[in-house]
């Protein structure tokens, strides 16, 4: 099945009760599939055909607040349009799950893949998972709800798929057992939901001396301290479903590597192919794939990069006026703990292909180059 079909199957497995969504390429087929499931009675869910993404997020925030598991999906400009509502959902500590099919931001118009849309949301209080395969796309929905609904966390989860490469491309996917999934997730039991017996104001104003900073600190601490719980949940998930989800990160051929790249999402597969090829030539190269980006897997990265002679951070998103955000986050994580020369590569914007020869060039550059930031497969093609 395609990545988008896998997501819809994951939503069905999660027994979601309210879906609100607005169409946008390349996310559209997710909500089409969900609408079809509801129409056929395969999925017993309310479906709100909202008029905008801002309303999609606001509607599922409200439905989740009544205590029912809710879902939405978006891409690109739609995701940017719901930015305000993303803060609202996280600030309300609602364990929503949303799929983002990563697509470029215009102008100029582009419907193709890159990660700038979700990178622009990394500070909204949502957990972020970047999928490499369609199997992961499905599993991340189930796992996402499980993690989000953990009473020690209670923060929403965004799971990402690259436009078209995953969303519209078919791969073999094993649909998890419905009964196992039902037992695994259970019914949503929100401790803090709209209560008619003890009426409260949800989101009331808080003055500077009130608990505003404390609430924000609790959100930050909850996410920051969630890494062990997430790792435990991944292990449980893999045992229960006989699945192969990586940890917060996936280390590929890192044991004796001298040089390594850090990637996210579907472009990691081409990187792995290239690494196998270079290994055959005797080059000691490896890959660290970040499955989770929020919370940021700093400890995993520190462990993985020890002893490297060079580390390249591959960035499929763009920040202006500074190096890439992944580079910044990796540098922050390892600062003062591991001394590894780092370079930053900007790749694959607007759906530009990231080819085997591009990865070969990045590894060559890691050994010989001296620029701190390099644009790959740009200009002279």
């Amino acid at each position: 099945m395609t990545g988008n079909e896998a997501v819809a199957a994951g939503v069905k497995l999660s027994n979601v009760k309210v879906i609100a969504a607005y169409p946008i390429t390349p996310q559209t087929t997710i909500v089409e599939k969900l609408a079809e499931m509801v129409a056929n009675g395969e999925l017993n869910s309310k479906f709100i055909e909202v008029e905008s993404e801002h309303s999609a997020m606001s509607a599922v925030t409200a439905s989740e607040m009544t205590g029912v598991r809710s879902f939405t999906a978006s891409s690109s400009h739609g995701l940017l349009y719901m930015h305000e509502a993303l803060h609202w959902a996280a600030g309300m500590r609602l364990p929503l799950v949303m799929t983002v099919v990563n697509r470029a931001i215009g102008p100029p118009w582009s419907i193709w893949g890159e990660h700038t849309d979700s990178f622009n949301q990394k500070d909204t209080g949502w957990l972020q998972m970047y999928c490499e395969t369609n199997q992961e796309a499905m599993d991340s929905i189930l796992l996402g709800y499980k993690i989000a609904e953990n009473n020690k966390l209670l923060l929403p989860v965004m799971n990402m798929l690259d436009a078209f490469t995953l969303s519209h491309t078919s791969e073999p996917v094993e649909v998890r057992s419905h009964s196992t999934a039902a037992d695994y997730l259970g019914e949503l039991e929100l401790e803090s939901k709209m209560d008619f017996n003890n009426p409260a104001g949800y989101g009331s104003i808080v003055p500077p001396d009130g608990p505003f900073m404390e609430m924000k600190k609790d959100m930050r601490d909850s996410m920051y301290n969630a890494t062990n719980a997430i790792k435990k949940e991944i292990t449980t998930f893999n045992d229960l479903f006989n699945a192969e989800l990586p940890g917060l990160t996936e280390n590929f051929m890192m044991e004796d590597a001298d040089y390594a790249l850090i990637t996210l999402g579907a472009i990691s597969s081409t990187a792995k192919y290239t690494i196998r090829k270079l290994r055959e030539r005797g080059q000691k190269v490896g890959l660290i794939r970040l499955y989770f980006y929020r919370p940021f897997p700093g400890e995993e990265i520190v462990k993985a990069v020890k002893g490297l002679k060079g580390l390249g951070v591959v960035e499929r998103n763009l920040s202006f006026g500074q190096r890439g955000p992944t580079f910044e986050d990796v540098a922050t994580a390892i600062y003062g703990r591991v001394d590894v020369p780092m370079r930053n590569y900007v790749v694959g914007l607007g759906g530009r292909d990231v080819r085997v020869k591009d990865y070969e060039l990045m590894f060559e550059n890691l050994v010989e180059g001296n620029n701190e930031i390099e644009w790959v497969n740009v200009g002279a093609k």
Binding site: V18, A20, K46, E51, A59, S63, T66, A200, S204, P207
Partner: protein, 293 residues
């Protein structure tokens, strides 16, 4: 005549509204008719601060605060979330100001009504962005001074006519649309009760005078809201199952009776008042025709 307003109070003391706040009365009367099985969604507006600081609230019903543009979407989500749990007998109300309804929230309102959720959207209309300090909205009437339509050396005030959101809702064929004001509390209670009895989307626009924003004496809130109806500035009407009916007040008032109590109109010259008079009369004949058609 016996009073028909329920004795039960769902709005308690301790709110932070200004003295003489029309919007506070709107909430109080609305909740009396709504009852305890009610979920509220409140976007950015005066009422996003009036219930009090976290964790306090002066309302006896749960209320969800939402982003400015999100009242329509939030009541949609509340409704479907409650229905998914078999709680169809709970009321879902939006309580939003005119900025959050006529301007930034219009798209969300229109869509929620179009989708047909079983909800009631209350627009408490104080005719400007009052929570941010009296800036003009689409619902501010012609002639009004606001801080973004100030009257200066070269003179200025809001030069555009009021956008009547209730009229837009009729154009959308919303099953029940009404205008009301706190000067006619029994009429307001009746309209909320009718709205509750109809399954589907409902919209009620409540004129809610604002002493600091309209520059009127806080003791005159009820008087001004009655004058608004008697002078035909704010006609009360109902649109139910496609039938439009206009309330004709037995007592009439002059336009200047209404305007002269409010500092926001104090700068108006005779010819400018004439402009208002003409548009009030024009609208009244339009509504009369609508009733007859």
């Amino acid at each position: 005549m016996p009073l028909t307003i329920p004795r039960e109070e769902y709005m308690e003391q301790g709110h932070t509204a200004c003295a003489g706040c029309g919007a506070a009365l709107s909430m109080r009367y609305m909740l009396k008719a709504a009852g305890p099985k009610t979920a509220l969604a409140i976007p950015a507006c005066c009422w996003s601060v009036v219930p009090g600081e976290f964790p306090a609230t002066n309302l006896k019903v749960p209320l969800l605060y939402t982003p400015f543009a999100a009242a329509g979407a939030a009541i949609s989500g509340l409704r479907e979330g409650l229905d998914a749990q078999g709680k169809e007998d709970y009321n879902v109300f939006a309580f939003a100001g005119d900025g959050g309804t006529a301007d930034i929230g219009l798209q969300g309102l229109s869509a929620a009504m179009e989708r047909g959720h079983n909800v009631i959207y209350i627009m408490y209309d104080n005719e400007a962005y009052m929570n941010t300090g009296i800036q003009r909205s689409g619902s501010t009437p012609y002639g009004a001074w606001t801080t973004t339509t100030p009257v200066g050396m070269k003179r200025d005030f809001k030069k555009q006519n009021k956008k009547f959101v209730a009229d837009l809702m009729i154009a959308q064929n919303v099953p029940y649309v009404a205008t009301a004001t706190i000067g006619y509390p029994e009429d307001l209670e009746r309209k909320i009760s009718i709205a509750k009895s109809i399954k589907g989307p409902k919209f009620i626009q409540i004129l809610s005078p604002c002493p600091p924003g309209w520059y009127h004496n806080s003791a005159d809130t009820v008087k001004i809201s009655r004058l608004a109806v008697e002078s035909k500035v704010f006609p009360l009407y109902e649109f139910k199952n496609g039938k439009f009916s206009l309330f004709k007040p037995s007592k009439t008032a002059r336009l200047t009776d209404y305007l002269s109590l409010q500092g926001r109109f104090a700068h108006l010259k005779e010819d400018e008042i004439k402009v208002i008079e003409e548009s009030v009369n024009e609208r009244w004949s339009y509504l009369l025709k609508k009733e007859q058609s």
